[in-house]
């Protein structure tokens, strides 16, 4: 989802810079965010219509309770393994359907990015940097640990807001 833009700073005026970023925002919005959100809403719909969402809610309830989240929140975390935009979409879909409240969605936000789509990152980050394959498992494990710890941390932070 990240774009390869130049790191070199050129002299451009602020309006040009804004337009340039805005164009990228439009492209990302229409070609990445929109399909991701539609996909997420369809997934939620499928899970909802088939009754699987309820089942996931029940099955994962004891685990997710560790973070003070309902079982349905597991769908957000599972989706984040494959797509960050999708996971945000799922979170919003569950919020719209009143399966998650604003507090619970807020707790999940950093976790979605910290998990950071490990399926893609194996190629895009570890592969490109040519990381020692012996370290792969540890690095990917750390993404999961970071994500799970951050949910607790957000819960703590939310006590101040």
């Amino acid at each position: 989802m990240a774009t390869n833009d130049d790191v070199i700073v050129e002299k451009k005026n602020i309006l040009d810079l804004f337009i340039e970023g805005a164009q990228r925002g439009f492209t990302i919005g229409t070609t990445s965010l929109l399909p991701n959100v539609v996909m997420a809403f369809v997934i939620i719909r499928v899970l909802d219509v088939t009754g699987l969402l309820k089942l996931i809610g029940i099955v994962f309830a004891p685990i997710m309770a560790l973070w003070g989240l309902p079982g349905e929140a597991a769908t957000v975390i599972i989706t984040s393994l494959m797509s960050m935009g999708g996971a945000i979409g799922v979170a919003v879909g569950l919020y719209t359907g009143a399966n998650l409240d604003a507090t619970q969605v807020t707790m999940l936000v950093p976790a979605i990015y910290l998990m950071g789509n490990p399926v893609q990152n194996i190629g895009r980050c570890l592969g490109i940097a040519n990381v020692n394959t012996k370290h792969y498992a540890a690095i990917l494990g750390i993404c999961v640990i970071n994500a799970l710890l951050s949910i607790w941390f957000m819960r703590f932070i939310l006590m101040f807001f």
Binding site: V9, G25, G29, N36, R45, P110
Partner: protein
Amino acid sequence: MKKENEGELKVPWIGYVAFFFAVLVFSGIFSSYDGWLRVFDFNVLNGSFGKIEGVEKVFTFRGAGGTGARDGFLFALELIPAVILALGLVNVVDGLGGLKAAQKIMSPILRPLLGIPGVAALANIANMQSTDAAAGMVKELVDLGEITDEERSVIIAYQTSASAFITNYFSSGPAVFSFMLVPIIVPILVMLLFKVIGANLLRLYFKFVLRNRLSGGAKNGNE
């Protein structure tokens, strides 16, 4: 952009102003002000859609009670202005040197926290916006002999988790900005914190697990 940075990034003063501006806008400090200072708030700038009068309630064009692909589509349409605005602002801040300023301010703190050489700073700046470009720069550092294999893994542990966090967060995050209960900037700080924690988990892993397992083996080589 390979070696000129040896810990010394050049940041124009406008870069610091831009960074400060970004922190203000995304911190939500002025969101509840009544006066003109509200202009320094992302959600104020993002504005709101007009409302459609219903019989009992008012709705935005998305309405209420929709489901599936159609509801997702309208919802995504609602988000796109926020993404356009956010990436427009980020590009202005970046173009003025704001992201470099951020890294410059952070690197004296980050360097000891990560235990990696200063040459990695530029790769870590790139990592704010791009996964691939940053990872490519790290590979180059190893090829040039600037960092070791293990240092590479530590840097990549930092980079992989929440990679390209500025771009990714502002590309999909606006979906939750309107009802999220913390200022927009807070999740960014939390991500940064855990990126550092993650890199250090890997350092600990190297120190205690790998060392013990292959004590005596060829370790810490460049390849």
